[in-house]
Subunit: 224 residues, 2 copies
Amino acid sequence: MSTDQQESDGATRVANITSRRRIVTVLFDGFELLDVFGPLELYGVLSDHFQISLIGPQPGPVMSSQGPAAHADHAYHDAPRPDIVLVPGGMGTRALAQDQAWLQWLADWSTPAELITSVCTGSALLAAAGLLDGYRATSNKRAFVWAAAQGPDVEWIPTARWVEDRNRWTSSGVAAGMDMTLAIISRLHGSELANTLADAVEYDPHTDAAWDPYAEKSGLTGSD
Amino acid sequence: MSTDQQESDGATRVANITSRRRIVTVLFDGFELLDVFGPLELYGVLSDHFQISLIGPQPGPVMSSQGPAAHADHAYHDAPRPDIVLVPGGMGTRALAQDQAWLQWLADWSTPAELITSVCTGSALLAAAGLLDGYRATSNKRAFVWAAAQGPDVEWIPTARWVEDRNRWTSSGVAAGMDMTLAIISRLHGSELANTLADAVEYDPHTDAAWDPYAEKSGLTGSD
């Protein structure tokens, strides 16, 4: 097998990186598939920069909103220390946003991380855990009113593909997580690598954090 | 929980559909994450139209190229009858394209399906199994030369986001699978539903099957 073939399918390799950041993804019953696997495709191709862990209620399969199950490597109580926390959305957020013990665990475990990130209604969980108090943030546009209600001390931004505020990054719904992830990779490792990665997986990203036609489609325009 | 909240996070529901198509996704060690979960996000949201099964070497976790594992519901030998076959790409295709017994199983099991589809280098497996002989098809642009070599009797199209030829649909690399999936959904259920779905998951699709800047970036232009 030639090097050319080994580098195909998006499997870009970057040599001479000795320190990898650990992305820990928080799975729960009813997570949204693409919220998790859009970002993990992108981080995962850059395996010399990032290592991926998935955590859940227990090790083993965790069922998505769409049915297919992902495999958690560790239980929450046994979660590795994260460099980057990734909290997806999905219908499972509705129960967890009421679970004070779980939210306290999320806050305690996430706070030391270099970056705390969410996709879609994952920001409702960060907000309910107090992790966005005093920060600007966004969320899925169709669930925006519900998400915003989870964090009265958050400055919610309706029209945004993603919002970065210090070390908190929150994206809009589902597919927006891929654009936010490329922006994070660009910030950490430069735009040239992010662009090479997007080309490798044949993804045509939105690179403007303010691009968001879905806010208006969901009737949110003017509510900011 | 309000209906509004239940319909958020992309979970569009369409009532009064009594017959659902079964999408069966063929997992294998070294499958590409987004090749699988981009399409399954889209099919999965339309749960009144589609039901999802995942099959693998055995029931249980199957590891992706990027590391995270998906959970197979059935072993290949126990696979349900598919309405739509979805074969992803990934580095695991390189070994399977040489596995004559597996390819024969794939051909026998897939042939009765209404649609036989692939993402990325999944088309190399369809080709190696003879399922694309006499058909037009495309593949991942960085692995195109290798993929094309698996099917000398296939009319390979280098510049294409996806290619439809009778009941065979093949997409270009990784993210292209989402655009092909929306085109399939549009064909089966109309463009209005496909557009509603794309908005629900905040995905901005390419709807032109001929859009493909990656062929030129990979030096394939003019080789057709």
